[in-house]
């Protein structure tokens, strides 16, 4: 298989416009004759389904939750980037493009990133027109803030609920199309297989989560917008129903999976408090603007924070990175917190936390100012931990937050299966090895509102697609497979809880495939994961029946897929013997402990082809070419 990224010719700034002109169009009268399946109703899926419906296609939209409005995107807090340059502070499409390629540690595709920066400006216009109540200045114009260490203010926001407001905008457009009957909505459905006919993606098999029925849907093209796979680590900031299932089943049908080892760890989350914990809560990055990160200098110092005198505290970020201090990028802050804890200098009951201290900021600015800036976050922290951060320092620890890897797609967002398109966090394309803050929302909406409506038309107009129905054998075979896997899960009748096994998988992933990875830890993970998978299929307990709402069955299916996928993630991490972005190999670091890339050997996208469970997948490489932004070593000293 050769990977053709289909990057259009021409100067980078003209590629997209030229491509839009060159792509084939579907005649307006013919659009309704084409059926498009969109799986997922997060920012990417909802915006795609709504826009395709508006164009006149016959759209079928699916999601797991009881309403499309509840997709995980709803939880995004901070904001969305766009190169509007409303602040007149030197922003431009080129600068956003440049920052994103550099921030991704030179592991993304330049042409895609440039297009993302280009359409970012249209996203804001679209959302404003939908009635998204973005923050405004007194003069009535849109407000911006700077985010994630960017040197310009390009982040648009709606209080701490930007994801919610953007998603509701997309959801409302989607419901309008449902009302106009161009979109049919199927909530509480889980996609469990992709159907290929003559090599093209022609439909999906889903489980109706309420009735348990296995349903088949045929189409002319399929879009997956099913989000990221952060919950392979069990604990993450992701919603608890997040999963890799749809992407993984498509992978098993032939879609290559790219860069699975690129995962992002967010430095400021509320630490784990016990085994019962089901998810981790993010504390906005903005806290690092005023909070100072420290641990005791002495190992095993169990004194409470106020008893530790100033000279016995180690403000390690300020010490090691004098110019960026507490504001170093996410990956650097996370790794340093881990090092401090590995040294035995972590705080709190578990020793797996560092302090984020506001004492000096409160002294300098007064509690009122701090309250105004961070009141809601302090409140949330207190609710969860029962500690008052105005009086005692917060305890924070890194947690899995986002996954840059995903199904491989070309410039048209099409996977290696013709007709299967992948949008949003589920694809791999734009963030390289590290995503910048406020760029995931931008990418999801760019894909759904402004890219797929063009590129899918080109696919439909240029591909012969004989009519198929769900009576086709391929549907029957896929549905039988799905049914069989369900029956197997129900028939194990072991005595181990699903959550218990998921937690165990999470422990392996976090300890051995987490923030710092080594040849040794990855090799260990690669022996432990298959063992646990074996254990799962022998001892899991999935009670209940297949023919009604059965949350244990749903959960077991997702964990089963994670037990296969985790191996690929670990293998990808093992094979990438360099450090870049969120992927830190201890063997590959500078003398002062920073991530060291190896451009000579690893400047490629690793795209894996499935060969069977437990069998070594085949690696395909897409070499990355940097014509515009020349790779350099990142430094934050």
């Amino acid at each position: 298989m050769t990977l053709d990224s289909k990057i259009p010719a021409g100067p980078i700034a003209e590629k997209w416009d030229r491509h839009k002109f060159e792509m084939k169009l579907v005649n307006p009268a013919n659009k309704r004759k084409f059926t498009i399946i969109v799986v997922g109703t997060g920012l990417a899926g909802a915006s795609a389904a709504a826009s395709l419906g508006e164009l006149g296609y016959n759209v079928l939209s699916f999601c797991i939750q009881d309403s499309p409005r509840r997709a995980h995107s709803i939880a995004a807090q901070g904001g969305i980037n766009a190169a509007k340059n409303y602040q007149n502070d030197g922003d431009s499409i080129y600068r956003l493009f440049y920052d994103t390629v550099k921030g991704g540690d030179y592991r993304s595709r330049e042409a895609n990133v440039y297009r993302l920066a280009q359409v970012s400006v249209d996203i804001i216009d679209q959302c404003v027109a939908q009635g998204v109540p973005f923050a405004r200045e007194y003069g009535g114009l849109l407000d911006n803030r700077s985010f994630g260490g960017a040197q310009v203010s390009r982040t648009f926001y709606a209080r701490g609920q930007t994801g919610q407001q953007l998603l509701l905008g997309a959801y409302q457009s989607l419901m309008r199309q449902v009302h106009e009957k161009s979109v049919r909505m199927f909530a509480r459905r889980e996609m469990l297989d992709l159907v290929l006919i003559d090599g093209n993606a022609r439909g999906i098999v889903v489980r109706n989560l309420v009735t348990g029925e296995i349903e088949k849907y045929a189409a002319d093209a399929v879009c997956l917008a099913t989000g990221g796979y952060g919950t392979v680590y069990y604990l993450s900031t992701n919603a608890v129903n997040s999963n890799v299932t749809a992407a993984w089943r498509a992978h098993k049908r032939g879609a290559l999976f790219a860069n699975p080892c690129f995962t992002q760890i967010h430095p400021t989350c509320i630490p784990v408090s016990g085994d019962h914990q089901s998810k981790l809560t993010l504390m906005s990055e903005s806290l690092r603007n005023d909070g100072r990160v420290w641990v005791p200098k002495q190992k095993g110092d169990r004194r409470s924070p106020e008893q530790i005198p100033e000279e016995e505290r180690d403000y390690y970020l300020e010490r090691k990175y004098p110019s960026f201090g507490n504001l170093v990028p996410r990956d650097v802050a996370s790794r340093n917190a881990k090092q401090a804890c590995d040294d035995g200098r972590g705080v709190g009951e578990s020793g797996l936390a560092v302090y984020l201290d506001f004492k000096d900021a409160i002294k300098r600015l007064g509690p009122e100012v701090i309250k105004e800036k961070y009141g809601n976050l302090f409140h949330m922290y207190q609710k969860i931990t029962d500690e008052n951060p105005y009086e005692v320092p917060m305890r924070i620890y890194p947690a899995i937050h986002y996954t840059m890897g995903g199904l491989w797609v070309d410039y048209n967002l099409m996977s290696t299966i013709p007709g299967l398109h992948v949008l949003g966090e589920a694809n791999f394309s734009d963030h390289g090895a590290n995503r910048l803050g406020a760029s995931a929302l931008m990418q999801g909406l760019a894909d759904g509102y402004f890219v797929i409506p063009y590129t899918i038309g080109h696919y439909l107009a240029s591909t012969p697609l004989p009519k198929v129905t769900t009576d086709h054998d391929a549907f029957k075979q896929a549905a039988d497979n799905v049914q069989q896997r369900i029956n197997t899960l129900l028939s194990v009748k072991g005595n181990r809880g699903i959550r218990e096994i998921h937690r165990e998988l999470g422990r392996i992933m976090w300890d051995d495939v987490g923030m710092a990875r080594t040849q040794e830890s990855l090799t260990r993970a690669l022996t432990e994961i298959p063992k646990l998978r074996e254990e799962f299929w022998h001892s899991v307990s999935v009670p209940g029946s297949p023919d009604n709402l059965n949350q244990s069955l749903e959960y077991a299916g997702r964990v089963a897929d994670y037990l296969e996928f985790a191996e690929l993630l670990a293998l990808d991490a093992l094979e990438r013997r360099e450090s870049c972005g969120g992927h830190f190999r201890e063997e590959s670091q500078t003398p002062d402990g920073e991530a060291l890339r190896d451009d000579e050997h690893y400047s490629y996208v690793a795209a894996w082809e499935f060969q069977g469970v437990g069998k070594r997948p085949e690696l395909h490489k897409e070499e990355l070419v940097f014509d515009e932004v020349h790779p350099t070593q990142r430094s934050y000293k």
Partner: protein
């Protein structure tokens, strides 16, 4: 902590339901309410018994999926808090806790503590949007919006559509939910063109779904996890009157 739970179990939409007693052992005060239920479910599972079905997703108070009536109060005893953000330190060792689903004609029980809230989606589909197609939007700064107007719109836009307002209302009215969306869009210039049509269509849809009318008891406001005030309902009523007058 050790807690006595009385949990609503109902096999399906048409089955009869009842409260079943469970004991939750070793409950830590740091657990969230849903994590406490996870632990109960985990122990059921190990015994090969079917777990208690309940909805949740984000577990941080924003998706609106969780929906439990705790001791008679939707989302439980803490004001401005979804049940996924309620922590067990709010309870004492030996407490008895009753857990039930939302109860409303328009929200039929699917199973145990899970209900069907698709009626809310149909209300939004009837008119809870601005009818623009993707593509031709003017520049985001083309129409300035005063800061206080944008803030007021945001106050209403915070609704998470959990349905606690309906569950708390003796008439099972969806007025707080609807009025939040109607107020948001009526405040903004973008929503102006369809103001009249929107309010009429949404109210008609709510009636068709079987939601009741509002008799100003303000129970909805008291349980709203986003603390959306009933002044939104007053605004909706004004919008409705305005629409009816405009039609004449």
């Amino acid at each position: 902590m050790r807690l006595n739970l009385k949990i609503w179990r109902q096999a399906g939409p048409n089955a009869a339901g009842r409260l079943v007693d469970y004991v939750a052992e070793n409950v830590s005060p740091d657990m969230s309410f849903l994590e406490m239920l996870d632990v109960v479910n985990e122990s059921l599972l190990r015994k090969g018994e079917e777990s208690i079905a309940f909805d949740s997703d984000c577990r941080e108070g924003i998706c609106g999926m969780c929906s439990l009536v705790v001791n008679g109060v939707p989302h439980g005893p803490d004001r401005g808090t979804t049940v996924c953000q309620l922590h067990m330190r709010r309870f004492k060792d030996g407490d008895t806790i009753t857990i039930e689903p939302w109860r409303a004609r328009a929200f039929p029980v699917v199973k145990d503590l899970v209900v069907d809230r698709s009626a809310f989606d149909r209300i939004i589909a009837a008119g809870g949007y601005v009818s623009i197609n993707c593509g031709g939007a003017p520049d985001g700064n083309a129409i300035p919006i005063p800061k206080d107007v944008a803030e007021a719109a945001m106050d209403s836009a915070q609704c998470i559509a959990c349905g606690a307002c309906v569950a708390a209302c003796k008439n099972a009215s969806a007025h707080l939910f609807m009025s939040a969306k109607i107020s948001q869009l009526a405040l903004l210039p973008q929503g102006d063109a369809e103001r009249e049509r929107r309010v009429v269509a949404m109210i008609e849809q709510a009636d068709a779904e079987g939601f009741g009318s509002c008799s100003n008891e303000a129970e909805c406001e008291a349980v709203c996890p986003k603390e959306i005030p009933i002044s939104n309902i007053a605004k909706m009523t004004r919008e409705y009157v305005r629409a009816v007058l405009a039609a004449k």
